[in-house]
Point group: C2
């Protein structure tokens, strides 16, 4: 058995987890999911990254959009617009059921771990899906134009367009890693950092007390897949917006917006960094950080076969 | 100007308010609406009687069902069922937008009066629609089979089938009438008690400290329309269920389930009781309570013209 533990956020991560789940039995996968994007909307608790993960692993995800549920409709959102609401977050009618279900359990006193386990069971997800914490941690982006914006508001409502002065994961220093998170890292045979936004999606997990330390002491190889591909053009508008957000947030934390900048954020605990084929030129720079480099096609959403990437990732586990 | 103040609940009341709004300018109408049926569902605040009132007066109501919004769909409810939820309350996708809007304002600290005024404005309702109170008052039905049930659960989930041992309007004795309620009664030229369930929909309003006293001292005529017609067969399943609930709740508070039993609950402050044409036999009994009697066709939903009923109601105001 190879116990694979993944750390990640939403869309980028879910593509990799879906591919991994075809090479590894789902029950051997433990996914530690960013909750820094979670938000309260109209009294409902919305967990974008957890839901994207669950929808992706259950086959419930809309394949074309890459987020939300397949066969979705937007009647409630449209009715909210008719009430004069500035609806910027896309609440689908079927997706709303997930938020209602979760919020109802919250009001009954359940924690996010139990709620997430419940949803995973209902959606038939055999992987262990863990919120990074049960505490509220919220990523705010400090923008010149709008002052502090919730990360989802910055990304979705303002399309990652405002200039960014800083990023804050509010509450992360006082938050406690959710039950199972540190245990999973300690017991892992292989740890994978998803190609998620390093600042918005990975940094909140790494910022939880104990997580970085657990990654430093684990004997399991830690392998990161580059979330930032410079050598290929981006054609999808959603990807473009997410790339703009990645670049702006990397700059805001003082890192170059390139694969070496990401690797520098992970150096110390990261054993191997997977560069996209098109970005091989960064290999030497990353090796100089003491991080091993592998090269593979990484853009799974473009339709390229996942096997070479999976071989590189799982090979790291096997070579241990 | 004839300032008409109505007291009532949901469906039965809304039929009368809609008819009244064709005979009286809507801005001269003030409706004091029962909130004892309000409930929290999945973290959302749902106000069945307020919403029925707003939808009816705005033309937004589904005419065939008599509740909810026209052109409604049920995608979210169906998705909740797929999650294994016992969904007994019918949350339409478009109706959900109202609950989300209200709950969002609640979380921002707004009270139910401001939220209701906001919804009335958005829906283009010119009448003044007041919740009876901003405090939480909840009607529970004590049943042998299920112990205490929220009234909506008793009516909708269990179709008014369980035996009823008692009724409780929890919180009503400590609740404060919402801003404008006592003022509207004091300033009224005519006060109308809607043909709503006397125990579930009218009694909570009458039970608020100050309301019964205000009705006792007002110089305006107080006229009640019988909610309970015995001389005609009920053909609609929804009406049948509501009639069963009326009868059971009347019995639970020790009143005969007939027009005289209702009139006895209103005697003291009620000047005139409108009997349905088919129930004239109760006139003498009601007059013996010191309540004047008028007779008119009262079942507006059967398609009978509202004018004779409106003449009797508005005539009482004019004759003052």
């Amino acid at each position: 058995v190879t116990r694979v533990v993944g750390l990640g956020g939403g869309i980028g991560a879910s593509r990799l987890w879906r591919a991994l789940a075809q090479a590894v039995p789902q029950q051997d996968l433990t996914l530690i999911v960013n909750t820094g994007d979670d938000l309260w909307l109209h009294g409902l608790r919305v967990c974008p990254d957890l839901d994207t993960t669950l929808y992706a692993l259950s086959g419930e995800q809309d394949a074309e959009r890459g987020w939300g549920r397949k066969g979705e409709t937007w009647r409630c959102r449209d009715a909210l617009r008719e009430l004069g609401e500035q609806v910027w977050f896309n609440l689908g009618d079927r997706d709303l059921a997930t938020h209602l279900w979760r919020t109802g359990l919250f009001h009954d006193g359940a924690g996010l771990s139990a709620v997430t386990t419940g949803l995973a069971t209902i959606f038939g997800v055999a992987a262990t899906v863990l919120p990074m914490t049960e505490d509220e941690v919220t990523t705010y982006v400090d923008t010149a134009a709008h002052a502090l914006l919730h990360y989802e508001e910055y990304l979705v409502r303002y399309r990652a367009e405002p200039d960014v002065r800083g990023v804050e994961h509010r509450g992360v220093d006082r938050a406690i890693a959710a039950p199972g998170v540190l245990d999973a890292i300690a017991a892992a045979d292989l740890i994978v950092l998803a190609p998620s936004n390093p600042v918005a999606s990975i940094a909140p997990i790494l910022g939880l007390p104990g997580v970085r330390e657990a990654l430093l002491v684990t004997a399991a190889p830690v392998i990161a897949v580059s979330p930032l591909v410079l050598g290929r053009a981006i054609t999808d508008p959603g990807e473009e917006r997410r790339a703009a957000s990645r670049n702006a947030l990397m700059a805001a934390v003082g890192k170059p917006a390139d694969p070496a900048g990401v690797a520098a954020m992970y150096a110390g605990f990261c054993d191997r960094f997977v560069l996209d084929l098109a970005d091989e030129s960064y290999a030497a720079n990353i090796r100089s950080l003491g991080v091993d480099v592998a090269v593979a096609p990484t853009l799974l959403h473009t339709g390229e076969p996942p096997e070479p990437l999976l071989d590189v990732i799982l090979g790291a586990g096997a070579a241990r």
